[in-house]
Amino acid sequence: MVFGVAGADERSAMRGREDDAAMAEERATVARAQAGDRAAVGQLLRKYGPGLYRSVLLPRLGSEALAQDALSETYAKVVERIGQFTWQGVGFYPWLRVIGLRAALDILRAKKRLLVWEAEDVQREIDAAQTQTPLEQTLSDRRDREAARRRIDAALSKLHPRYARAVRMRVLDELPREEVARALEVSPATFDVLLHRAVAALKKALDSER
């Protein structure tokens, strides 16, 4: 369909113009922020912070409190170092994401217990950030979230099927203990033991992926 193709081209061109306009606007906001306009800094943080928290910090740190600490540290660094930011035509988000990953890395390095992400994993992500961070935050966020979800799914796929089901139902779907026990056809006390063993197997599976 000729009209369909022309329409798609036109839509694509329009989207391109909108992207250019958005990028120019962001560049102007960054320039104001670098000139000392704190409202402009706030504007950038309001735009990108929630996505950074949800897609990058929270999955990697595994706790709301730690993710908020990392976000707070990230914002402090942005305020401190916005003057050093050099516009490279890729927008503000890739810079913010690397600062966020570094804040997460500092927290992970200080922790001893096993979480889903280890400091070395985040260090690898920082190394890759230079070439692999998409310009578009929506795309970057989706990739970050998919990477986290894939890691859990891959580890669960290595478990005994009943262990995996116990974790999925009780932890991921947040179903009540008694309901999961009924679904697995065991008593609640037996389910507790099953879940306890599933945790040990899951840790082992996650560790084996490193």
Binding site: W95, V193, V199
Partner: protein, 158 residues
């Protein structure tokens, strides 16, 4: 594939010790209320990695507000300096310092970048003429790392 077959079957409670039962019930209790239980914390991290929750707008605004109202490190540094001098001299010196720091684009000092240098340090043994080697690979990896570090340094995120 992790071998789970060497472990006790999940429903075989005959192979379950009293210690394991106690640990399992402690975990079950910890999942129902906030606690510092290590395994419950781990499972919470798993859940958040799989389906992260959004940050509440009120909490986000508080974080932004804190960052924007906090004095910059450069400004805090100038306050410390002021104490070292007499009152009259301190005011003028601190004002001059504050002015200098505020107008500087790089408050933490100039960025140090990796410079061009010999590749000799990358090789501890001479290469044999005509034989295959990883020479170019090693140089490329080292220079790629330099480039990445330099970019991060210029971005102010090293």
């Amino acid at each position: 594939m992790v071998d789970t077959h060497d472990e006790s079957p999940p429903d075989d409670l005959a192979a379950c010790s009293d210690e394991e039962r106690a640990a399992a019930s402690a975990l079950a209790a910890a999942l129902d209320r906030p606690s510092g239980h290590a395994d419950a914390t781990f499972l919470r991290a798993v859940a958040l990695a799989h389906a992260p929750t959004a940050l509440e707008q009120r909490e986000h605004e508080a974080l932004i507000s804190r960052a924007l109202t906090r004095p910059r490190a450069a400004d805090r540094g100038s306050v410390v300096r002021r104490v070292s001098f007499g009152v009259a001299a301190a005011l003028s010196v601190a004002a001059a310092l504050a002015l200098l720091v505020r107008t500087s684009p790089t408050p933490t000092g100039p960025t140090r970048l990796a410079a061009a240098r010999s590749t000799q340090a990358l090789f501890d043994q001479p290469f044999q003429a005509g034989a295959a080697s990883a020479r170019i690979d090693r140089i490329a990896v080292a220079r790629q790392a330099d480039l990445r570090d330099n970019r991060f340094a210029q971005w102010g995120v090293r």
